[in-house]
């Protein structure tokens, strides 16, 4: 199982804070997961076409080529605006 979480404007656009993805035998990258999510429907596709989105795996920022394994927590979110 892979846990996927969304934050801020992205969470609102998707109207989804988190979901789970069954881990199968195929090795997946963060980009692969993004593609899977985009394939859900038109809204998800449009939302994930935003190239400025950031991703993190297990609380560390990663890029799209990062490999995801079962038990990981994958996060997608817009550029951060704290401080």
């Amino acid at each position: 199982m892979i846990k996927i979480v969304f934050f801020a404007a992205l969470r609102e656009q998707l109207n989804c804070a988190k979901l789970s993805l069954a881990a199968d035998d195929n090795t997946k990258t963060v980009n692969d997961i993004k593609q899977l999510l985009s394939d859900k429907n038109e809204r998800w596709q449009q939302t994930f076409s935003n190239t400025s989105l950031l991703s993190a795996v297990n609380y560390d920022m990663v890029d799209g080529s990062h490999l995801v394994k079962s038990g990981d927590e994958v996060a997608f979110f817009p550029p951060v605006t704290g401080g």
């Binding site: 979480v5 801020a8 609380y59 920022m61 996060a75 817009p78 951060v80 605006t81 704290g82 401080g83």
Partner: protein, 160 residues
């Protein structure tokens, strides 16, 4: 990297903080560090010409603390600093409210200034916080997620 060692250095909280209390703790039993630099950020009343009424801060629990701990470790590797404290508030804030505090002590002022600004610059682009503003624009109330600034990304890259 142990989270434990950063327990006293990082606080993500809804409650307000008190500058004097934080500085007291940074200076307490600390007579080797002659310099202390603090940064405090507050909610301003204007953004892009519109009147801000409130600001709501969302974050990513767990990642927030981990990212700030990493930033503090990097600062300690680069500069000879003593104690560090980073506080970031979450939830709904009003104009004038304090949002963020960074305090750094050091033997020499240059290290405290540089490390403090570095921590703020990195926090701005690496710590998972997001601001949503309620603004009044020509009499109309609306909610907007703030857009990240390229200037913040550019400024953080100057340190690398």
């Amino acid at each position: 990297m142990s989270n434990h060692s950063h327990l006293n250095e990082i606080s993500i909280q809804a409650a307000d903080f008190n500058l004097a209390d934080e500085v007291f703790l940074l200076e307490k039993h600390n007579v080797i560090d002659g310099a202390i630099v603090t940064f405090t950020g507050r909610v301003r009343n204007h953004n892009n010409g519109n009147s801000v009424t409130t600001l709501t801060l969302e974050h990513y629990p767990g990642m927030t603390e981990k990212s700030l701990a990493k930033i503090i470790i990097q600062a300690k590797e680069r500069w000879d600093i003593g104690r560090v404290k980073v506080i970031h508030r979450i939830g709904e804030l009003s104009i004038g409210d304090q949002i963020v505090f960074v305090g750094v002590t050091s033997k020499h002022r240059q290290d405290a200034f540089a490390a403090n600004e570095f921590i703020m610059d990195y926090l701005k682009v690496k710590a998972p916080f997001w601001k949503k503003e309620k603004v009044i624009d020509a009499g109309q109330a609306s909610e907007n997620w703030l857009a990240a600034k390229n200037s913040d990304t550019d400024k953080a890259e100057l340190w690398s």
